[in-house]
């Protein structure tokens, strides 16, 4: 399959799956480990990918949340993410996608401007988080946040859906719709 669709598979019982996409393997691995350390009632599955499209011969569960990791030190990671975005179905962007910018703490190594990533997240109407994944404490906090988001996207939290969450996150960041 060349395009990821959110609801083309049946959900697994009590499982929530997140897909981390990014060009830096080490960072993704660390984030995955932090996420798996969080305890929650559901079974967590973390898939890592360097780029989309994903190989079609593997049997994988339904993906509930995609996190695109962009390293502000590397233009290459941005290019990879931009190319991968083409392989995601539009309906995924209704709350099941988020962007994560890492490396903002080391200003002198940054080659991407913060605005570039802001613009990307705005174009895709998805939330953007900044977190230095190399610092353990920040990574643990971010992992906690992502797990919470994942549970909502998988439908395991009563009363809140992915789309609800998206509109809740947006009112604090973006101006009213008449300006868009």
């Amino acid at each position: 399959m060349s395009v990821l669709r959110p609801l083309d598979k049946l959900p697994g019982l009590n499982t929530a799956t997140v897909l981390l996409v990014g060009s830096e393997d080490a960072l993704l691995q660390q984030l995955a480990d932090s996420m798996l350390k969080e305890d929650c009632a559901s079974e967590l599955r973390v898939h890592l990918a360097k780029a989309l499209p994903l190989p079609s011969n593997v049997n994988r569960p339904r993906i509930d949340l995609i996190v695109f990791v962009i390293n502000l030190h590397s233009k290459y990671s941005l290019q990879h993410v931009e190319e991968s975005l083409h392989h995601v179905d539009a309906s995924f962007f209704l709350g099941r996608v988020c962007f994560l910018g890492t490396g903002a703490g080391q200003e002198h190594h940054c080659i991407l401007h913060r605005n570039t990533v802001l613009k990307l997240a705005h174009t895709y109407r998805s939330p953007l988080f900044f977190c230095d994944l190399e610092v353990e404490d920040f990574r643990a906090t971010m992992a906690q946040r992502l797990v919470r988001m994942l549970l909502i996207c998988a439908g395991h939290v009563r009363g809140v859906s992915a789309l609800n969450l998206l509109s809740l996150l947006r009112t604090s960041e973006t101006p009213p719709p008449e300006e868009l």
Binding site: H113, H122, P176
Partner: protein, 352 residues
């Protein structure tokens, strides 16, 4: 019996909560950095999409004609270490002689304490403060001034002027953003350039910090700013090219980092820039990105290495060269003010 009509006097303002927050949000969202905020306030911003920064290509300013090329020749072809300085409190250009004496005494005292680490430096030294005329962008910018440490020769028959041991100068080029916000007692000279022994820089920095209640911090140049410098300096019109255009990337890998150096003929670099450049007199983010992407893809085609995944550490052109650690060498007299303007901007960002 008539009931008094209940008049609910609505004195709440017409603004809905959304509207009142949006103006605050606009200021926050329009520019990530203070300078961008000010650039954008000039034009009416209606869309949320953050616009990328734009800058003017350094042109020869009117004031540069006042600079005597002989007098500033000593500023070129030297490696300067950059610092950003907060505004100096109660600094006066009339007291330069007094400052020279005070600093001289301070250095002598420090050396007696045994803090100076230069071996063999037991000859006397002399400190000179002088103003550098013309090193500014607009009339509002304060005058730049220079501090030099000279060695006083022991033999009276020898030349009066000893060898220059250390040079440092403070300047402010197009520093309007900072000048607007400070009161009269302060002199804003946010950019400090030092050449010479690190121990001397430390001693002099301490003296300035004590005397004028300011703060020095080393100015590091990010990879993002280095790519902007590369684009702006390649865009400069040059009569003759003195040096090849060179980039240095560092690949972080264990155990030692690998360095990749990429040298281009300056005329080729200029030709590439001309094909990318569209808006006359201005440099935009898209043009810088396109310029760098062309260099990356050319390198990838030949060597199959993705330079975009590595860290840009040094940029060197015929106008100037800059290293991410905050070391700069200016090679071209014509664009001196332009280079200083950009560095002043970076210093102001760091202070704010």
């Amino acid at each position: 019996m008539t009931m008094d009509p209940y008049v609910a006097s609505e004195s709440t303002p017409e603004l809905t909560p959304r509207q009142s927050t949006s103006s605050g949000l606009k200021d926050y969202l329009i520019g990530a950095t203070p300078l961008q905020k000010r650039l954008e306030s000039v034009r009416k911003q209606t869309s949320f999409v953050p616009t990328p920064p734009q800058r003017k290509i350094p042109q020869c300013s009117q004031l540069q004609e006042n600079i005597d090329s002989q007098k500033v020749a000593f500023l070129l072809h030297k490696q300067w270490t950059l610092y950003s300085v907060t505004p100096l409190y109660k600094f006066s250009y009339n007291n330069l002689k007094e400052y020279s004496k005070l600093l001289n005494a301070f250095i002598a005292a420090e050396k007696q304490k045994g803090l100076a680490v230069e071996v063999g430096e037991d000859f006397n030294i002399k400190v000179i403060f002088s103003t550098l005329l013309g090193m500014k962008g607009t009339q509002r910018d304060p005058e730049a001034f220079l501090v030099q440490i000279l060695s006083k020769s022991q033999m009276p028959s020898e030349n009066r002027e000893g060898k220059v041991l250390w040079t440092g100068w403070f300047c402010c080029v197009f520093g309007d953003n900072l000048l607007e916000t400070v009161s009269q007692d302060f002199t804003c000279l946010p950019l400090f350039l030092a050449n010479g022994a690190e121990s001397n820089t430390a001693i002099i920095g301490t003296w300035f910090q004590k005397t004028f209640d300011c703060y020095f911090s080393p100015l590091a140049i990010s990879a993002f700013n280095l790519s902007w410098m590369a684009a702006m300096w390649t865009a400069c019109q040059m009569d003759c090219y003195m040096a090849t255009t060179e980039f240095l990337w560092s690949v972080p890998c264990s155990p030692q980092s690998l360095d990749i150096s990429y040298a281009i003929h300056p005329e080729d670099a200029k030709a590439l820039w001309d094909s990318v450049h569209k808006t006359p007199g201005e440099v935009t983010q898209e043009e810088v990105d396109l310029f760098m992407d062309c260099l990356y893809s050319h390198f990838h085609r030949h060597f199959k290495i993705h330079l975009s995944a590595t860290r840009l550490v040094r940029v060197s052109t015929s106008v100037a060269s800059a290293h991410t650690d905050g070391k700069v060498k200016i090679l071209c007299h014509k664009y001196l003010i332009g280079v200083l303007a950009y560095l002043t901007e970076l210093a102001i960002f760091q202070i704010e």
